[in-house]
Symmetry: C2
Subunit: 364 residues, 2 copies
Amino acid sequence: MTTSTFLQPSETALLPFVSVENMMRLVNTTGAAVFMGELAQYIEDDFKRWPEFDKTPRVASHSRDGVIELMPTADAENYGFKYVNGHPKNQREGYQTVTAFGVLSSVANGYPILLTEMTVLTALRTAATSALVGKYLAPKNAEVMAMIGNGAQCEFQAVAFREMCGINRLRLFDIDPAATRKAARNLAAQGFEIVTCASGEEATEGAQVITTCTADKQNATVLTDNMVGAGVHINAIGGDCPGKTELHRDILMRSKIFVEYPEQTRIEGEIQQLTADHPVTELWQVMTGAAAGRQDDRQITLFDSVGFAIEDFSALRFVYSNVRNGAFCEKLDMLADPDDPRDLFGMLERAKSAPPAGIENMAV
Amino acid sequence: MTTSTFLQPSETALLPFVSVENMMRLVNTTGAAVFMGELAQYIEDDFKRWPEFDKTPRVASHSRDGVIELMPTADAENYGFKYVNGHPKNQREGYQTVTAFGVLSSVANGYPILLTEMTVLTALRTAATSALVGKYLAPKNAEVMAMIGNGAQCEFQAVAFREMCGINRLRLFDIDPAATRKAARNLAAQGFEIVTCASGEEATEGAQVITTCTADKQNATVLTDNMVGAGVHINAIGGDCPGKTELHRDILMRSKIFVEYPEQTRIEGEIQQLTADHPVTELWQVMTGAAAGRQDDRQITLFDSVGFAIEDFSALRFVYSNVRNGAFCEKLDMLADPDDPRDLFGMLERAKSAPPAGIENMAV
């Protein structure tokens, strides 16, 4: 963006913006694995101070083909929200199933301080959260993870679980073999030992961790009861909105269930299949030590992941910490900033003496 | 923004963005009065199809110094939301009391199609809505408007009321004389006949329309009962959140009250002073003819304005119609768009072969 000199917005009015290209550059500068490890630390720090947050279930607008959601949260210093859509049919039409962007603001004056793409960032924070939870709940010395559903989230999960939990062997299955080939190609290049499987049953054989991450919006049974042996940790990602689940109810009845925010998970998660008073454990309490995590080697632990606003808040904080010095971002003229804050109309009038359009357009 | 050739995002991934500078240029190209008149037509069209919208009270995050709100709504084709803050103390520290931005999206695939500044646009849509309502409710041949509160919204209200209701004489009062001087200077330059007043009482003398638009967050009585004569239309703008009202309760008891969305106005508007079953008339029903507006020359009509998401939706639609051909906007690389939508990880990996940072930075 080029702005004419005498309309130059002040620093106050310029908002740091992280484009997709800059986000990829930021991630690749440290590497996705280290990036997710550092991001997980931010998430863990925020989970440990859970009561400090202003929390609300996300605000969803459902339509025939998908959902658009706003996910706000705030602490005393910052307010953050994410815009995210979920449209399972998009993928068949060449669009992303999930796209997202987010904003971090100052609570003190309400001004946004960061606008960032979050399609890539959401993939990273979802995997970072799963692996962080895995660090607390997965069986010790786990090496093998089954991955059912090999879409856009799959590789991020694998890389995060290796970084934080030591997983290095993967058993992949997807109802679309092309998805499995894509994931296997990408993950082999990352040095994983990979077995591609012909069924979900085959994928779960010998796995200590089972990740389900499928896209179809239906009450599916990606996992049936017979596929889940004693001591396994289930990382259930895909069941994340009303009418979209992946696990047979019998598995839930055998598992110790861990959730982010019960008020939201009971609506959106696997536990929408259970009664509203079915016991669940809040992850933040596991992290502070107030509640027990895995209690023995034979217990089945289940992370009923739906994705909560605080994880996005942590991701926004983390990105902001990386762009404060001006790196990896552009500056957007998004906030009107008249010399006299009450003279918005005068600012508009004075803009009439600006040079004709075209100067900006040349730089676009 | 310059992006390197082999990372050039596709058209799908580029989001039109209207900066503050481009918004001012767009408004000044047609003139603020005509812009608000055209915008009011969009608002009226949307109010007339009110039942088609997915409506919800805004999602507010309150803090000691202010509030940050998200205001979403959708019809079958588009989803829109606005981010807006309200921090009364900002003005004293050189910041805007209200800043805002908004996004319009496609319901079909969830992709954003417009990002725009809305600080200037909100000022325009608020005034356009008031004048549109004035067109329905103000006494015939009204010429004189009292304006109590001469802050950032004042001039926009005056210009919109002249455009749509024929108001050309203004009586201004603000507890801060500097605010009145600012408004008088700006509005004299627009050709209004102006009387600056020493009190609210003086301002209301002979006025057929009374606009209240003050910023302090308290239960104030900017208007007391004796100041409101028969037949007046009150355009009450400033009482718009819990604990912030401008009118004495007795005035409400004598007025026929019109609101945007009762579910929100009962929480935020002047009528938070009344019982939850106090009768109000929904403006969309006045516009469709389903409900009566002003019923006689002596009736006091009151627009208890709080600002509703559909007005922002209309404003987003209107701006989008003006930038579809590429004018008045830049294109932001905000939406990740891998060749294979399931291969987000592969896109990230391939970005490693991008040229070093710095090319973009030079163009910022």
